[in-house]
Symmetry: C2
């Protein structure tokens, strides 16, 4: 690690021009803190390249002097993945000016987007061409393609289309030595050695700077059917999902699980919401089935009728208008907001094998509540992906400091349980800074050794997003759970 | 590289027992030559571990003495990827005894297979459970899961289900330091750092020894519809594919392109075949559409009727029985055999972006035939994947030595053309030994540098399948195309 010399800064300023280079503290400030306000760093300058060539030149110049770079897209990381450390020695490389959709071929179903393209802009462009980019999430108005690729983002349509990894057909990236990897060609088959594209997806900018990606587009939505379904247990929800997949095939795009406690939080704290079913059910599923344009509507009504007769479903409400569908989705999308209004919680983004999730949720919730009396587990989300937000609400009356106190022990315990079940302590949010110590503590030594070896091999000077994703060797010695670092 | 000491061999013999260790030349011989008979090597012993633990112990013992290991499954590589060099210093590690299907969960759609499970055995086991493993290829009676994973195998169903990479949910592997990477958990979402599973897929055993894989199963086939379609041009075939996908969605599983010349070779050389259409067409497509069990049959007949009315299709024959469907597939599957009987040819397994393939085939064929008078291009195969077998038949009367003579220059020229088009010189067969020099000659320097760095990082002693896949640095200096090494 080295502080950038004045000569280097001058060279970068000249190369990038006033739109591409600033050291003004007011310009830097918004990008030195993560959006949740938990991580605060300092950067020596903010660089905004306008082309892949400028990005490559930045990396070459900085690599020569071992100056560290922190790549940034929309700055919407959930784990402090795009915030520099406090030393003030790093340069933030914002990809937001690289925001062209270079091409969009509706017939081929391929869009080539630069790293700074905002997700909702790609949604609009695809729709205008009669297609759809089938990945969406809450931060779609800020999150950029480069960030989504680098974090292998998930969202609510992973059930059918997979995470970002399944939608990336090619990548252009600046490697840590400043060379440009030109891998944008959308080849369905290519066996020319290790798949560098796959290595860069989810690497959180630690192996290079993604400058563009070729992305898969799918047919636009013809009709969608949305239903809210009351169920007796999480296991019944899983059985319902398999039944619906049997009846409707690929049409089932979303299957979100909502416990009664989460729905009640929403109804209590979010104005304008109302209960979708006459009788509250212990568990609920929000299901969306979709047909491509020009194809028959998905037969969700019939499929649910069969499940009702079979006794699998307690009650169901099917949206009869787009407005009703949006109301049902709002119940699901407001859970985090409602939980926040209700009080502090320790949040976990975990996954296990899909078939195990229903059982895991029930058993792990009982174990946590027994071990930490007064806590209340609120686990909800993407049951069909084996991924839930396993949040543990503080005992009633606890203050905000609970999260960094007992909350830390709760998180370590939850991560222990999910690791014992063969699952992941980071399903979709990544590691960033926040989960680095937990990955060091719980990661398979063979895996950790390989991660470190790959990082050292491709970025020997450790200039690309240092301190993220790859636990340094000495962190493994540190027995404490540090996933809630003081902010 | 080191010859194994007598002490090491004794230790291995004791550990593995008589079923797991042999130095008998008669036992070794079949595995020292590739099945096409082009590569001949020598090994010091043949090791056959019966468990992942034994495999790990082998790697640990050999790593300590820098003894090289050549992993082998069914020995069906098309590129010499599993044949040792001629020094006699390497040990072949056969994975064929590791042949248990550890579990098969029909509801979850997951089978956990050891590396030595033969592909057709997995097909049978899945079918018996009402499911299907949707990857198949000619060598299915010998090819093993470990080899299919390590080569990211393709086949005839990639159009719908993708190559092996899309079907691998988890991997267990011995890394080059002898540690066991336990990544079998079939997590749909997992963002705990670089995806080692993806790195091992297609690594041809150069980064470790795959001992087991969790594989995706899909619903069993309900009904299939198979048609042979006559077309005016390769471009018309592409337009037909997009039209069928619009009408039938995911039901289209295979779309194979066959030029008139290829069909004529089959009719001439393969007994019992007959022309599927009354009038021969310049181009033909073999299409298969499939519905899952319990779902309505795919409406291929109606979709083709529409294409006929629109003037896109010249003529079509739809199989009205399973026997007829098999006869149509036999025409496609016999092309390689017929070509071989007809005379020598330089064969190429190439890909470009799907939308470019029809144009590329036409233009590249004209360029090759102009530059090498008398040659005749016979390009056929997976049009919907952007992958064809672009074979160039020798001028009439040429001897078998043509392949290693002018054929080498033809291959270099074909690889130049495909590289200029942004495509791949290895779509599905891999690099192995055969294409190493061509990858060195044509590979993007950024990509080659990264491949070498990763290999050095994970296998510093170069013990895992040395001389395959990763071009050594000095090979890049060698300007000659050596893709047809003397056998």
């Amino acid at each position: 690690m080295a502080y950038p010399s004045q000569a280097l800064l001058d060279k970068l300023a000249t190369m990038l021009g006033p739109k591409g280079f600033t050291r003004d503290p007011a310009d830097l400030a918004p990008w030195e803190t993560d959006w949740r306000g938990r991580y605060h760093g300092k950067a020596a300058a903010l660089l905004s390249p306008a082309s892949a060539e400028e990005a490559a030149a930045i990396v070459r110049l900085c690599a020569a002097q071992a100056v560290q770079l922190v790549p940034q897209g929309g700055n919407t990381s959930m784990v402090g993945g795009a915030t520099p450390d406090g030393s003030g020695s790093a340069l933030i490389v914002s990809m937001r000016r690289l925001n062209r959709i270079r091409s969009l071929d509706a017939a081929a179903g391929v869009a080539v987007c630069e790293a700074g393209v905002i997700l909702s802009d790609l949604h609009s462009a695809a729709l205008a061409a009669g297609r759809r980019f089938p990945l969406s999430l809450g931060a779609k108005g800020s999150a950029t393609i480069g960030g989504l690729v680098s974090t292998n983002a998930g969202g609510t349509q992973v059930l059918r289309f997979g995470p970002m990894r399944s939608l990336v057909l090619g990548i252009e990236a600046v490697l840590p030595d400043g060379s440009l990897f030109e891998g944008l060609a959308a080849l369905k088959k290519d066996n020319r050695g290790y798949d560098l594209k796959q290595l860069l997806i989810g690497a959180e900018g630690t192996l290079g700077l993604v400058t563009a990606a070729s992305l898969k587009l799918v047919p636009a939505i013809g009709e969608r059917a949305v239903a809210w379904i009351g169920l007796k247990s999480a296991e019944a929800a899983m059985a319902l999902l398999r039944r619906l997949e049997g009846a409707l095939g690929d049409a089932v795009e979303s299957f979100e699980l909502v416990p009664r406690s989460a729905l009640e939080l929403v109804l209590r704290h979010v104005p304008g919401t109302r209960a979708p079913l006459a009788e509250p059910a212990p568990w609920n599923a929000l299901v969306e089935a979709v047909s491509p344009a020009g194809m028959p509507a998905p037969k969700l009504h019939e499929a649910l009728g069969g499940a009702l007769e079979a006794g699998l479903v307690a009650d169901a409400a099917i949206a009869s208008s787009e407005a009703q569908a949006q109301d049902l989705w709002r119940l699901r999308d407001s859970i985090s907001e409602a939980e926040k209004k209700d009080g502090p919680a320790a949040k976990h983004d975990i996954s296990v094998a899909v078939e195990q999730m229903a059982g895991f949720m029930t058993e792990a919730a009982a174990a946590v509540e027994a071990r930490f009396p007064g806590t209340r587990v609120n686990a909800f989300g993407h049951l069909g992906d084996g991924n839930v937000h396993f949040n543990v609400r503080a005992p009633e009356g606890a203050g905000a400091d609970w999260v960094d106190g007992e909350g830390g022990a709760v998180s370590a315990y939850v991560h222990d349980l999910v690791t014992q079940a063969g699952g992941s302590i980071s399903a979709e949010h990544g590691i960033g800074q926040m989960k680095l110590a937990e990955l060091a503590r719980l990661g398979d030594p063979a895996r950790l050794g390989a991660l470190r070896a790959i990082k050292r091999a491709l970025d020997p000077a450790n200039i690309m997003n240092p301190g993220k994703l790859v636990p340094p060797f000495d962190l493994a010695q540190d027995g404490l759970a540090q996933n809630h670092l003081p902010s």
